[in-house]
Subunit: 94 residues, 2 copies
């Protein structure tokens, strides 16, 4: 569990948008790139950071790699956040 | 909602530990600093970043500022993550 890398990966809006695209199912780098006005190299860079952060993983199918969300890391983040909130001390945001 | 700042703030282990300390209730900067081998200035720097990211807020009480978790931002993060997971596409991590 490398939360540093995970949260760093999540701090970028392009990478968050990639995750949002993947929530509908696996996509190739080309599919993902078609949603951005960016070079393939830039998309690959973002995909690599997301993979290193364990937020996505690629699966080779014929000549393409399809990327999909790694929901187990998303679960870990939610679990960590919920332990913070579970301290019985709710902030008063009125 | 500035997720960039929030996730960047969460990417640091010291700041995550500060949040974990605060889950038991509000603490002053001095209370927090006693858990780290760091100068007061460094602790203040981390508290400032957490405040800018809306993860904590300070409340003045007599001569001290007590910091506490802002659970509403934690809720927003959990909500965003849960929308990712809610796409009906679970990753297969076997």
């Amino acid at each position: 569990m490398a939360f540093a890398e995970t949260f760093k990966a999540l701090s970028d809006p392009v990478r968050r948008k990639i995750l949002e695209l993947l929530k509908e199912g696996p996509l190739s780098a080309g599919d993902i790139g078609s949603h951005f006005d960016m070079t393939g190299a830039t998309i690959s860079y973002h995909l690599k950071l997301l993979e290193q952060a364990d937020l996505i993983f690629g699966r080779k199918e014929k000549n393409f790699i399809y990327y999909q969300l790694n929901t187990s890391v998303l679960e870990e983040i939610m679990l960590w956040i919920s332990t913070l909130k579970g301290g019985g001390q709710d902030a008063e945001n009125t």
